[in-house]
């Protein structure tokens, strides 16, 4: 099952959330983890900040009390595809639902000074690009989005982002980036190494038999 490959360029509106340590409970609260599906989380992204009332799985945006103060509720930012935030975004729970909610809402890239490790990994499995910049650069971006432009262009292959003709380079491992560009599925790729895994396992069974005592 291959996902669709993505464009080499992401261009869109940037929504700013000026906070450190936005954890995955904030990105999508526990209630929505009850879903057994992999899609359909768009209405629950940042649920606690986006709505004034309590939500439940299955209840849509239209049935909720909207918090008009929250950026993603306000045009044009309800169409944002880029999120700009501060430090340690996506810390906490391993729930991949957090990335699914961002993806389903239409967020293609998140820019922060650092990310929670598990969240960072989960992004690449779902076509969302996390971009790490220094704290100073993040500060600059925040003021630029205020003063000059609310649009950013990200070039995936060049590993650069541009805002109002100012360019920033970012680092990301090539293999992770390729997963986004080509929409690769890890299971398929790994199973090409089936024999290598089997061989490793056979020798481990001999040298560490207690691991396999229940098999």
């Amino acid at each position: 099952m291959k996902m669709q490959g993505n464009e080499l360029q992401i261009h869109g509106l940037v929504a700013c959330i000026d906070r450190d340590n936005i954890d995955t409970d904030q990105i999508i609260p526990t209630e929505y983890l009850k879903s057994i599906k992999k899609f359909g989380f768009e209405d629950y992204l940042f649920d606690g900040w986006r709505y004034l009332d309590d939500g439940k799985l299955g209840i849509t945006k239209e049935q909720r009390q909207i918090n008009e103060d929250f950026i993603l509720n306000n045009a044009p930012y309800d169409q944002a595809s880029i999120l700009l935030t501060r430090d340690n975004f996506g810390c906490g729970s391993s729930r991949e639902h957090a990335v699914w909610a961002l993806r389903d809402f239409g967020i293609k890239t998140v820019i922060a000074s650092s990310f929670g490790d598990i969240f960072y990994n989960n992004c690449f499995k779902n076509g969302v690009l996390p971009i790490k910049l220094s704290k100073e650069q993040i500060e600059e971006l925040f003021s630029q989005t205020q003063d000059t432009s609310n649009e950013i262009t990200v070039s995936l292959d060049a590993k650069k982002l541009t805002i109002a003709s100012v360019e920033y380079s970012f680092e990301v491992e090539d293999n992770l980036l390729e997963r986004i560009i080509y929409g690769l599925d890890d299971v398929d790729i790994t199973l090409q190494d089936k024999d290598v895994i089997k061989e490793f396992e056979d020798s481990r069974m001999k040298s560490k038999p207690w691991i396999y005592a229940n098999d």
């Binding site: 099952m1 906490g92 729970s93 990335v99 293999n175 490793f200």
Partner: protein, 466 residues
Amino acid sequence: MPKTLYDKLWNEHHITTLNSGESLLYIDRHYLHEVTSPQAFEGLAKKHLVPWRLNANIATPDHNVPTERGGAFNMESIEDEISKIQVVELDKNCNRFGIKQFDITSENQGIVHVIGPELGYTLPGMTIVCGDSHTSTHGAFGCLAMGIGTSEVEHVLATQSLKVSKLKNMHVRFDGKPQTGVTSKDIVLYLIGKIGTAGGNGHAIEFSGSYIESISMEARMTICNMAIEAGAKVGLIAPDATTIDYVRKHSDLDSNLLEQAEAHWDTLKTDQMAVFNKEIIIDISSIKSQVTWGTSPEMVVDFDGNIPDPELVSEDKKKNIQLAKQYMGIEADEKLTDLKFDKVFIGSCTNSRIEDLREAASIVEGKQVADTIIEAIVVPGSGMVKLQAEAEGLDKIFEDAGFVWRDPGCSMCLGMNPDQLKPYERCASTSNRNFEGRQGNLGRTHLMSPMMAALTAINGTVSNPS
């Protein structure tokens, strides 16, 4: 070259380096629960695959299960239809693929990180993964254990391996003797307060020192459990006599295998000259009981200390502190000891083991829960912990004091089941996350040790446990 414990575990499980530069790591044990597995099973089925090594997998429902089953251990006890679907789905998937599950009717059901070690499925030197960030708990046994996302759950089911890049090495040494009333929960909260919730990002943290050597496996699990709150996917403690003693009691390995294994486990320690990327040494003898005041585990102070004043901190911290105080309903000059609590929760994979319950019970014995406390609940981490506690009469001690004694599960740690805070309720909780809304929309969570939570139930406020 001298190696750290993490390096050794990494090397032992390293299958191959991929063209991408990442490594393929062999996975010995895979724990599953109902929340992060359904989409993974669906992916597996769609690809017409079956689990690579069936018996590597152990499953149990924990997040959604109600804790008021009153012995009625069945699906019907789940009133929330949406929760029930997830538990039923786990059941179906385990049956369909033949995975061993301690289901809702099993007396061994419990929080996945509690039952793994106590049923002997967690053994030193293993690689252990689970679709749950608190998998770091199992690092207490000298395991390379970490939380993974749902896509990776599917990957591990299908290939018995994980694609990963190597973490950096970090060393935290705790030396000294704790003051009375200070527990491993206080020590780890203190560390998180010092290094912050991003302090361990990208690192595996190995804990050592005379304090670590002196504590039980239960206390070590509490520390490794919270490594993720310091940002570290992996927490580690080298196996020693305490570890082996625990494993002998809990696993059913025959003596021959055990002997072979022990010879190997003896080698699982950091070489003397090994170099860490980061090193922290903490003298724990002056640490007081820690209680969080804010909405991140790093927002923690001495129970009688001052809550930071946003006017007195640097500009970049100011906003976080203001927002947190506002959310927590804390006035400018209030201290933790001024706050009035509404609920008490003793439980979660951090602090629901037998030792935690004993410590809490020692505080409440012969006393009464304060009138101002709406509800104080004790949720044992597993069926085994529950039975053990009942055999020791702990349930009676709690109930006589006015606590409610429940059935095992994650419960109010994240409130996926009916155990939730109402808006603005203030809770003394032995869990691991005080994030906004974690225990219920607009609920206010203060993290602390089981002893401190028990004391807060009795006094209605945070006070000195020593």
